[in-house]
């Protein structure tokens, strides 16, 4: 899956992992009043977890692919 030296899954994995972590942390420490917008759901934590999982899966795939080549 390596084309032109860059596996795009790696940057995707990293950015989604970072975004997921930011959302989870922010959702945990933020004033719960801001979640009135999202109908009382702490959507930051939930969606942050979804993004984090996606990021980790993409990152793992890229990592495995790069090690198979060597």
């Amino acid at each position: 899956m390596k084309t032109m030296g860059l596996d795009i899954r790696l940057p995707i994995g990293i950015i989604f992992t970072i975004y997921g972590a930011i959302l989870i942390i922010y959702g945990a420490v933020a004033d719960p009043a801001i979640f009135v917008n999202s109908l009382g759901v702490n959507i930051d934590i939930w969606w942050g977890a979804a993004m984090l999982i996606f990021g980790l899966v993409m990152g793992t795939l890229a990592f495995k692919a790069s090690h198979r080549k060597v």
Binding site: M1, T3, M4, G5, L6, I8, P11, I12, I14, I15, F16, I18, Y19, I22, L23, Y26, G27, A30, I34, F35, N37, S38, L39, V41, I43, D44, W47, G48, A50, M51, F54
Partner: protein
């Protein structure tokens, strides 16, 4: 709408990554083929998602949410009636000619099939259209940020456009395609919570249909039969033939913006799969744009509460209503990503057509490859600069989606006639392509003038666009046929690889069934038919 530090941080991280991908690819752009065609080396799933993403400009996303608020589920036709069959057609039947003939652009195919003048006419009209479209996209974006955040209009236009220019300048089409894949996932993750929260707020799908201002809003097909019954004022003929056939096939099958992604694929099966892979997310995209538009109009039927008097506000207003800080940063990043992927698609298509079909052919032929690579970089910066300038011109038009379809009706609709006859009828002569295409564009111009001065009347601008496309296409086909009758056919041996009946069919027998284009296309169309029935 109020932004916190966390939202800004998310946006800044996004900019760092898109620029980083450009820098990572910088050293790999050694020949013009690397820059304009990615060296034909990219796997199908990447070109497929880029194909989808290049089409997802800010205008596409915000425009269809606005149309959904204005016209209801009728907008689903843009996806299920228009895009699906056309995307399957280009993958199964047309990609073998584009990819197999080793052309570098759509106009270059026209030179091989017809002649130099056909190619030049198409290259010029395409370059003009692309610059106009990228300007509209920029404008849509700038308006959004100004209204939403009170960020200064000019500054944010120039800043976002500059980022696009930098990453294409560095990494060419590869950089554009890789960023489009990243942008695709950001768009999905940025807009999907809106569908979930929106549906929850109105009480599920049943609650949504009960709150819509008129029953026509909740149906895709039920009210299509008479123009007076549906909110767009178009009957079944205009919709099916104008949108479903001429406009959509014209766009998906001949617009170099999308076709270029297929040309970058590493082999023929990947090139053929490119539009088919793109079709799968495209099919479900109404969930992310049409649904928020419907929720917006259900919550605010008089446009006074959230929409502030404008349908265009539907998507950003819903982001502001439902997203708390944190997720809001992700939502705005998704909007930025959609804007950039659309803009980058236009820029890479423009710099290729400009460099190969205009500059290398007419202005300065016979230079070393390095010269054209540098010209491509220069054209990138030029296209972005002109895009910024046109953004200020389109400030004068008030309905952007109608304007976009108008441009397509001018240039893509007649071109599809030229392609259809050229690819599937070997008798079509060299001269006929040029005259058919020219008369088609003139027919579109005539129709537009007559409509503009109220000689012909339509219930809505969108209806006028659909009929304009029908006229442009029909005139192109008739003129091409007539000119062919009076001119010499081309020798058959010159047309091998360019015309359906003279080209060996791609052999897919050794591929597993799920990689064969024909079978994939049938599965996609069947799934699409099911969606049409569910939301009838």
């Amino acid at each position: 709408m109020h932004l916190h530090f966390v939202d800004y941080a998310i946006i800044v991280i996004y900019f760092v990554f898109v620029l980083g991908i450009g820098f990572a690819l910088r050293g790999r752009m050694k020949t013009s083929d690397d820059f304009f065609l990615s060296g034909r080396s990219i796997p199908g799933w990447i070109t497929g998602l880029a194909f989808m993403s290049a089409n997802l400009g800010a205008l596409e996303v915000m425009g269809h949410a606005a149309n959904a608020a204005k016209y209801g589920m009728f907008v689903n036709h843009f996806y299920w009636l228009a895009a699906m069959p056309a995307m399957c057609f280009v993958g199964v039947f047309m990609m073998p000619f584009y990819y197999g003939s080793k052309v570098r652009s759509v106009p270059e195919y026209l030179r091989k099939r017809y002649d130099e003048k056909t190619r030049t006419l198409n290259a010029l009209s395409f370059a003009l259209m692309t610059l106009l479209v990228s300007g509209i996209d920029l404008y849509a974006m700038a308006i959004l940020f100004q209204r939403l955040l009170n960020w200064p209009f000019t500054a944010c236009v120039v800043a976002s456009a500059a980022v696009v220019a930098i990453y294409i300048y560095l990494g060419g089409l590869t950089s554009s395609i890789y960023n489009e894949v990243l942008q695709f996932f950001l768009i999905v993750f940025g807009f999907l919570p809106l569908a979930i929260l929106g549906l929850k707020a109105v009480g599920g799908f049943a609650g949504l249909t009960a709150k819509l201002p008129n029953p026509g809003y909740a149906h895709t097909w039920k009210y299509i039969w008479h123009a007076s019954q549906n909110p767009m004022g178009i009957n079944w003929f205009g919709t099916i033939f104008g949108l479903g056939f001429v406009l959509s096939f014209g766009y998906w099958c001949t617009d170099f913006l999308v076709v270029q992604r297929g040309l970058a694929a590493r082999d023929m099966p990947s090139a053929q799969r490119t539009p088919l892979i793109a079709a799968v997310p495209k099919m479900f995209f109404p969930l992310m744009v049409v649904l928020p538009g419907l929720v917006a109009i259900a919550l605010d039927p008089h446009l006074t509460k959230y929409l502030n008097g404008r349908y265009d506000n539907a998507l950003p207003a819903m982001l502001g209503k439902f997203y708390p800080s944190g997720l809001l940063g992700i939502g705005l990043t998704a909007l930025l990503a959609s804007f950039m992927s659309g803009m980058a698609g236009n820029v890479t298509a423009f710099n290729t057509v400009w460099t190969f079909d205009i500059y290398q052919t007419h202005v300065n032929p016979g230079k070393p490859d390095r010269h054209y690579l540098n010209m491509g970089r220069f054209a990138t910066v030029f296209a972005v600069a002109v895009g910024i300038a046109t953004a200020f011109i389109v400030l004068r038009f008030n309905n952007l989606m109608d304007y976009l379809q108008l441009l397509f009706a001018f240039f893509n609709a007649p071109l599809f006639g030229t392609f259809l006859l050229g690819m599937f009828w070997k008798r079509t002569s060299a001269h006929s392509g040029f005259w058919g295409l020219l008369c088609g564009i003139l027919a579109a111009a005539t129709h537009y003038t007559l409509y503009h001065y109220h000689v012909i009347l339509y219930p809505s601008d969108m209806a006028a666009n659909f009929y304009q496309a029908i006229w442009a296409f029909s005139v192109c086909v008739v003129v091409t046929l007539v000119v062919t009758m009076f001119t010499e056919p081309r020798k058959e041996e010159e047309l091998v690889g360019l015309v359906y009946s003279l080209t060996p069919k791609p052999r897919n027998q050794d591929l597993p069934w799920y990689e064969r284009p024909g079978i994939l296309a049938i599965c996609i169309l069947a799934l699409c038919a099911v969606l049409n029935i569910i939301f009838w």
